[in-house]
């Protein structure tokens, strides 16, 4: 299918689903959709709905190009996301479920697809016929780029207006180079936009002089998509600060992390003191801390309200930051900043917290302990507690939601006709992958609105598979670790990429670990002899004597109702939620009544 | 199963006949030889019984066991094999074998023939034997007892001492007896013609009705009874007749020696024996009514009858068969017929009690 030559492993595998000669079966049945959503947790967790099992399988088959393309179907920047993705898929990974071990390094494998693909790899695009519609997109961040890519493939003429000189948005300006090499970013952005997207950089939208007016765009284009993200830092809410005021404004030695990074990536020369305190718990905070180390700070401490385990960054990030001697101190909330008589920062006053109840989103509440204030001395304070949208540029009246973000309808359109919005600009500060996912989603809506009908939607593709694609032994392969740059090397230059990427061997080993959750194991009830041989070999309590199955309101399946009464056993059934796709049941079945099919949610033409 | 070959040590004495002499011989053989095998062969179905007592059937004695001489245990006690209902078909004296009619051969070391005599029926009456009742065995006696009703009329022909003995009982038990007397009357006694009327008178005194055989030389028929008349009718040559319930011949005894024909020992009428009772075959002896014994006095072979004689013969034979050298000596007194003081007939023949 792709130019990538099949690797040797591919030959050893009996079947390759996508090569099946027969037509797959397409389903919109909620039971199938529900199955995939339930059973392929990584894909479900992925905001871009990346078909993770498929690309990992391709990596196992050493068809890296194909793996890269599978990724690219979901997000146009696989190499980027393979590095800096927040990886919501990994906590969801079945391999990480209780008793199964550690989750698969999905993100690293994603990167390895790009890293290892052949030099002759060519990206693939499926082009629709031109529609003659014109779409303006404001913002060349992840959401905007993703939307532009999709809309252009759909046959629309797309123009991106970008304030900065180069596209990339937060990717380029918010993420340090040691995590995301700029040449890769540039290449992938280029690939995303090169099929007919007009990129206008340095163009500011707004009311000011020299700025392009939004309403004129609305006049000129068939649709306008706002994808400006969240580029204003959240203000530090110190105890005595007035609401809406910035208590640290104008203070020397105190900086907002976002500004700090953007300035850095715009090319400014940044300096920090010997002791740096970072307040905040996100990627930005960590990035600021690690950048500070690279700028020469000796003591860098991240102060967080709760504890490490509840902060929304990947384990790898924390791990690497700590390796770089970044301290993380928890259960503290800043109350005030302490300055010396010269107005120089000498420390931050915190109040000690205790952990409270759970808050929405899986975080814990932090409850200050009265009278427990203390001061952490520092020379530089970087505040990285979040970002918010910037709305000043709007010259049309748009309805806003209660949280301050723009309100959009189900089809992505704001209260202003023709005006759409996507990404962080709609959802508030989130992750790159969310932004990309949302960008594509809204692009699909825009297209539907422009054309007057949905042209693509997600469907379940069911493809038979002849044999298990895994071996039981693979379940015991340990998670492979990402090789990183030695600490000594890291500090020399800001741009030295810390993570070195998986080697072929490491990628191969790691790829074996994927359970290939999209493989659906089913028992032909009519042919099953109820011999329970499958149950006998099952590694988990994954095959059950079933009396009934719950059907949920949405039509998808809920729990299986098990029974030990022989005359109630209406089927022996594989509980795919417990199934780790080891194939043991398939191999042992004496009457060969177990079938395997690959069930994937893919975007398909209506 | 008894031996089929002669025992090496114990001799086998075989006695033919279970009458007085045979039984006596058996008893004495056992006395002489405690180890010998002794076998008595008889055609009779009964063991040794007192034949002379048979008239008692008219005294209400109907069970033959009353006549039995020995209890059944006697034979086994003395280890005497008694073979009854057994007939000798012939003798192979050379090989000392008896051929029994039931196809059995019995070897003997010494054989005593004591087969006795059967009632003699004169030639002219042989054809009527069927209509006459014999008196040789218990069976015969019972048959007569049955045929002769109480107070019935018996016709006795001949009138030997056996018949006269019966006649006494019949008369005593209330029967009518007619004797057709002839030359055999008083057999085996020889009654001189002169004395005959005297004896006949004595018989009449007993209550017999008497007819002299001479007067009716030609008996021509004995017919079956007709309605209302007794069962038998004897017709005489002169046309007269007699009606009676039974007709019984009493013409004395004839020795039973048919099976000895051609066997070797000399036979005149009976088996000829020395006074030692040995026949002309050194292994064969004879005793009782079957044999004729050499009489020096008479220079002829004589029959000796009577219970005492035949019993003595058994003893002598037994003694000699076991190596003795006895001789038979008859008591002349014992052979005489006489009348006692009251004129009643007395005969040693009747002295058996």
């Amino acid at each position: 299918m792709l130019g990538d030559p099949s690797g040797r492993r591919a030959d050893s595998v009996q079947a390759r689903a996508s090569d099946a000669s027969a037509e797959p079966y397409w389903s919109d049945d909620p039971r199938d959709v529900g199955w995939v959503k339930e059973n392929v947790p990584c894909q479900t967790a992925c905001p871009a709905s990346t078909n993770i099992p498929a690309y990992i399988r391709a990596i196992y088959e050493e068809r890296y190009g194909k793996a890269y393309e599978i990724n690219r179907e979901a997000n146009v920047l696989p190499g980027v996301l393979g590095r800096i993705c927040s990886r919501p898929c990994e906590p969801a990974c079945r391999h990480g479920w209780s008793g199964n071990g550690e989750s698969v390094s999905i993100c690293h494998l994603k990167r390895s697809a790009g890293d290892l693909k052949g030099t002759g790899h060519r990206i693939t695009e499926n082009l629709y016929a031109p529609t003659g519609k014109r779409v303006a997109i404001i913002g060349a961040g992840p959401a905007g780029v993703a939307a532009a890519h999709d809309l252009s493939l759909l046959g629309h003429d797309v123009v991106i207006y970008e304030r900065e000189e180069v596209p990339g948005g937060m990717l380029r300006y918010g993420i340090p180079e040691f995590r995301l090499p700029r040449d890769l970013l540039t290449l992938e952005l280029h690939n995303a936009l090169r099929l007919g997207v007009t990129l206008k950089t340095g163009v500011s939208i707004g009311n000011g002089r020299g700025e392009t007016r939004l309403f004129s765009l609305l006049d000129d284009y068939d649709a306008v998509l706002l994808a400006t993200g969240c580029m204003l830092p959240s203000l530090l809410p110190l105890r005595d600060a007035a609401k809406g005021a910035d208590p640290v404004k104008g203070l020397k030695d105190v900086e907002y992390g976002l500004d700090f990074l953007v300035d850095l990536h715009r090319g400014e020369s940044k300096r920090v003191g010997r002791r740096v305190a970072v307040v905040g718990a996100g990627f930005t905070a960590l990035d600021c801390a690690r950048v500070s180390r690279r700028l020469g700070a000796e003591e860098v401490t991240i102060h967080i309200r709760t504890t490490e385990e509840y902060i929304p960054v990947t384990y790898d990030e924390i791990f690497e930051a700590k390796r770089e001697n970044v301290k993380i101190k928890g259960l503290r909330t800043p109350v005030s900043v302490k300055l010396d008589d010269n107005g120089r920062l000498i420390g931050v006053e915190f109040v000690q917290n205790r952990l409270g109840g759970w808050r929405a989103g899986g975080r814990r509440q932090a409850i200050p302990i009265e009278g427990s204030e203390f001061i952490e001395p520092c020379d530089t304070l970087i505040v990285a507690i979040g970002q918010i949208t910037e709305n000043d540029f709007l010259d049309v009246k748009v309805e806003m939601a209660r949280d301050g973000n723009i309100r959009i309808a189900g089809n992505g359109m704001t209260s202003v006709p023709k005006l759409f919005a996507a990404g962080d600009y709609v959802k508030g500060a989130s992750t790159v992958i969310e932004a990309i996912g949302h960008g594509r989603e809204i692009a699909n809506e825009v297209d539907a609105w422009l054309i007057g009908q949905k042209r693509r939607r997600q469907r379940v593709r069911v493809t038979p598979v002849e044999a298990p694609e895994r071996e039981r032994a693979w379940d015991f392969v340990a998670r492979q670790h990402m090789p990183t740059l030695p600490l000594g090397e890291r500090m020399k230059q800001m741009g030295e990429e810390v993570e070195q990427g998986l080697t072929r061997d490491l990628a191969a080993e790691e790829s074996k670990r994927c359970y290939l959750c999209s493989l659906r194991y089913e028992i032909d009830v009519d042919r099953c002899i109820y011999c329970r041989a499958c149950i006998e070999v099952a590694p988990r309590n994954c095959i059950k004597l079933v009396e009934d199955v719950e059907v949920k309101h949405d039509g998808s399946y809920g729990a299986l109702k098990e029974t030990k009464d022989w005359n109630q056993v209406a089927a022996i059934w594989i509980d795919n939620n417990e199934c780790i796709r080891c194939g043991a049941c398939f191999m042992v079945c004496p009457v060969k009544c177990i079938s395997i099919s690959r069930c994937e949610i893919v975007t398909a033409d209506v | 199963m008894p031996d089929t070959t002669p025992a090496a040590t114990a001799p086998h004495y075989v006695i033919i006949g279970v009458g007085v002499s045979g039984s006596q011989a058996a008893a004495e053989l056992r006395d002489h030889d405690r180890t010998a095998r002794i076998t008595i062969i008889t055609a009779s179905r009964l063991p040794f019984y007192q034949r002379y007592d048979l008239p008692r059937v008219f005294n209400g004695v109907h069970d033959w066991r009353t006549f039995m001489v020995h209890q059944p245990g006697y034979y086994s006690d003395n280890r005497i094999t008694l073979r009854r209902d057994t007939r000798v078909g012939g003798i192979d004296a050379k090989n000392r074998l008896l051929h029994l009619t039931h196809k059995e051969t019995v070897h003997y070391d010494k054989l005593l023939v004591a087969s006795g005599g059967r009632p003699y029926v004169p030639e002219h009456l042989v054809d009527y034997r069927r209509l006459m009742f014999g008196w040789g065995s218990f069976e015969d006696a019972m048959a007569v007892r049955q045929a002769l009703p109480d107070g019935g009329h018996a016709l006795l022909l001949g009138g030997d001492m056996i018949g006269l003995d019966l006649a006494r009982t019949l008369i005593a038990t209330g029967h009518r007896v007619t004797l057709v007397a002839g030359e055999h009357s008083f057999w085996p006694h020889q009654v001189p013609a002169t004395e005959r009327p005297k004896y006949l008178a004595a018989l009449q005194a007993l209550g017999l009705e008497l007819l002299e055989e001479g007067d009716l030389g030609g008996i021509v028929a004995v017919e079956q009874s007709v309605a209302g008349l007794p069962a038998r009718r004897v017709v005489f040559g002169d046309g007269s007749d007699l009606h009676g319930d039974v007709v019984m011949p009493f013409f004395g005894l004839a020795p039973q020696v048919e099976f000895m024909a051609g066997a070797g020992p000399d036979i005149e009428r009976g088996l000829l024996v020395q006074r030692s009772l040995r026949t002309t075959d050194e292994h064969i002896y004879a005793a009782g009514n079957v044999c004729q014994i050499w009489s020096e006095k008479d220079r002829r072979y004589k029959f000796y009858n009577g219970w005492k004689n035949v019993r003595l013969m058994g003893s002598v034979a037994a003694a000699n068969m076991t190596g003795g050298s006895d001789e038979f000596r008859s008591n002349p007194d014992a052979e005489a017929l006489r009348l006692d003081d009251q004129g009643r007939i007395q005969s040693p023949f009747w002295e058996y009690q």
Partner: protein
């Protein structure tokens, strides 16, 4: 002893008939057939008859056959020690038996053998001086009458009949029906032979002391008939409504099957000759499980093969009736000799604790009752029932009185009926009498599985100690009800009431001899009583103990070496008994029992005398 008319049981008058006739010959001589004719003729004439045949295991050849018949006015209990008349059809076999003819009895034989006999080989060399020899030219008479020597047996019989002055009518009738079944011509020929022989016999001066009195008066109610033990058994099975029979030929039980094979099809019932005893009992259990009244009959070797399946019947609580006619053992032993040596096997046989009901009739009438009652018990108590016969009982004939109405309950099942409450059918549910209501295949809703595995109330395999204990109790305790089985005598006392010196405890066919012996001992002035024990398992401990309380000494005569019943009694009651265990290859000798009674009586009096 007084030879002529032994007063059996002291009941009959002196004029009563009590004559025993033996016919002895070689297999193929028609000995048994002659016995049958004689038996049936005399029974027809109105006499009570007990008869018993002894025959060799071989069908033809030179084996010995003896048919003995005791002909009485009132029912007797056993054969006599001495026969009154012996008819020899083959001297070589008869000679050893001449001694059993009493003094002044008759011995009838062939006076003109066809072939030379060795010295001493003729019966005349053996007839005792006290006996009356009757030699006849039987062969010649047969040949004269029928141009064949094949009617020798009938001629011999006829001579005897003529000699004893028996009424010709019943003989003619019997001969006609016996041979007429096969062929009218054969019947006629035999009738001719009979007439000729009869005339010869009648003309023969009778010297023996054998006297036939007139037959007894007919019985008050029911039908009098002459039956063998096996025939009575068959009658009992049929009258109790046997549905299925499965059997494998084995002496002496075979005739049960042979008779059933005639009778069952007529009634639309099914009989199958199986491939072995194992399948016979298996099919019996199968049919019993399916609700049929099913039975099988066998002898010791067959019983041994059936043991495993009997255990299944016990644990699965399936009714099955097994008729066991004992013969001499062990192993093939003596197929044609009677013995009572399978009691242990019947009572204790099979593996594990496998109780069952064992009943043993003591006479032919008992065979009838036990056979029928066995079905009732098997059904009522849901268990295999063994009816313990023996060769002597199976093959002996007795005139019996059968009730006009079959005295058997046609259905004794405690049947399960579905009720609203029953969610699940509990095949082995606990109940007061430990008998669970039974469903039979075909019953709606009663589906269940029975198994040879230990199981719970549902019949599901379960081997916990609680269940095994409870089920063992159930299997044993439920049988106790059999001791109160309606209209069935589990044991019975005869003879003197009150304290006695010697008590006889008898079972099975030997009990007849026990009774005869008891009467003789009483006639001698010995205080004596006898108890027959019909139910051997469960053991009727109470009545037997009560009887034994009355006895100074208890004698247990039986035909086995080990004294199996004596041991059973001792084991059940822990009291001493005196065994009289004989393995004489024939019925127990009455005289042996009497002798032992005398000895014991003397013994029990000795201490008293010493005082």
């Amino acid at each position: 002893m007084s030879p002529a008319t032994t007063d059996h049981g002291g009941k009959g008058a002196m004029t009563a008939t009590d004559i025993q006739i033996a016919i002895c010959g070689s297999a193929g001589d028609g000995t048994i057939a002659a016995g049958n004719i004689l038996r049936n003729a005399l029974a027809t004439a109105g006499y009570r008859v007990i008869s018993f045949d002894v025959y060799p295991p071989e069908i033809r050849g030179f084996g010995k056959c003896i048919s003995r018949l005791r002909i009485t006015t009132e029912q007797a209990y056993s054969l006599k020690e001495k026969s009154d008349c012996l008819i020899s059809l083959d001297d070589s076999h008869t000679i050893p038996h001449v001694g059993e003819v009493r003094d002044f009895g008759a011995v009838i034989f062939e006076a003109k053998p066809v072939a030379q006999v060795p010295e001493g080989g003729h019966i005349t060399a053996h007839v005792r001086p006290g006996q009356i020899p009757y030699g006849f030219s039987i062969r010649e008479i047969s040949e004269q009458a029928t141009s064949s020597n094949r009617s020798r047996n009938v001629v011999a019989l006829a001579i005897m009949a003529g000699l004893f002055g028996l009424d010709k009518g019943p003989f003619r009738q019997t001969i006609d029906s016996t041979f007429g079944k096969k062929n009218k011509k054969v019947a006629e020929v035999n009738l001719d032979a009979f007439e000729t022989g009869y005339a010869v016999g009648a003309a023969t001066f009778k010297l023996d002391s054998v006297k036939f009195g007139p037959p007894g008066k007919s019985v008050r109610q029911g039908k009098v008939t002459i039956l063998s033990g096996n025939a009575a058994t068959v009658r009992g099975l049929l009258d109790a409504g046997i549905d299925c029979y499965f059997g494998y030929p084995i002496t002496p039980a075979t005739s049960i099957m042979e008779r059933l094979a005639v009778e069952m099809p007529k009634r639309g019932k099914r009989l199958l000759q199986t491939e072995d005893e194992i399948s016979a009992i298996a099919a019996t259990v199968g049919a019993g499980y399916a609700g049929a009244r099913a039975a099988t009959a066998t002898s010791g070797p067959g019983l041994a093969l059936m043991m495993e399946m009997l255990g299944l019947g016990t644990i699965a609580e399936v009714p099955a009736v097994v008729l066991v006619s004992q013969r001499g053992g062990p192993s093939t032993g003596m197929p044609t000799k009677t013995e009572q040596s399978d009691l242990n096997a019947a009572v204790y046989g099979s593996h594990g604790d496998s109780p069952r009901i064992v009943i043993a009739p003591t006479n032919v009438e008992g065979c009838y009752r036990c056979a029928g009652k066995a079905f009732e018990m098997a059904e009522a108590y849901q268990t295999p029932v063994i009816v313990l016969l023996d060769l002597y009982l199976s093959n002996r004939y007795e005139t019996v009185v059968l009730a006009n109405e079959a005295p058997f309950n046609p259905d004794c099942n405690k049947r399960w009926r579905r009720t609203e409450r029953d969610e699940v059918y509990r095949r082995f549910a606990a109940s007061d009498d430990q008998i669970s209501a039974r469903a039979i295949p075909g019953d709606e809703g009663g589906m269940h599985v029975v198994t040879g595995l230990e199981h719970n109330e549902l019949g599901r395999p379960n081997d916990t100690p609680e269940i095994h204990t409870a089920m063992s109790v159930k299997r044993h305790d439920k049988l106790k009800a059999a001791l109160r089985h309606p209209d069935f005598t589990i044991c019975k006392r005869f003879g003197d009431d009150g304290p006695i010196d010697v008590g006889l405890l008898g079972w099975g066919s030997t009990f007849g001899e026990c009774l005869e012996a008891m009467f003789m001992a009483r006639a001698e002035g010995i205080r004596c009583a006898a108890m027959k024990v019909v139910m051997l398992s469960p053991f009727p401990a109470d009545p037997v103990a009560e009887f034994m309380d009355d006895c100074k000494a208890v004698l247990v005569p039986e035909l086995n070496f080990q004294g199996q019943f004596a041991r059973l009694v001792q084991a059940e009651l822990a009291r001493p008994v005196v065994p009289l265990a004989k393995v004489s290859c024939g019925p127990m000798r009455v005289e042996d029992i009497v002798e032992e009674i005398r000895r014991l009586a003397a013994q029990v009096h000795q201490p008293l005398a010493a005082e």
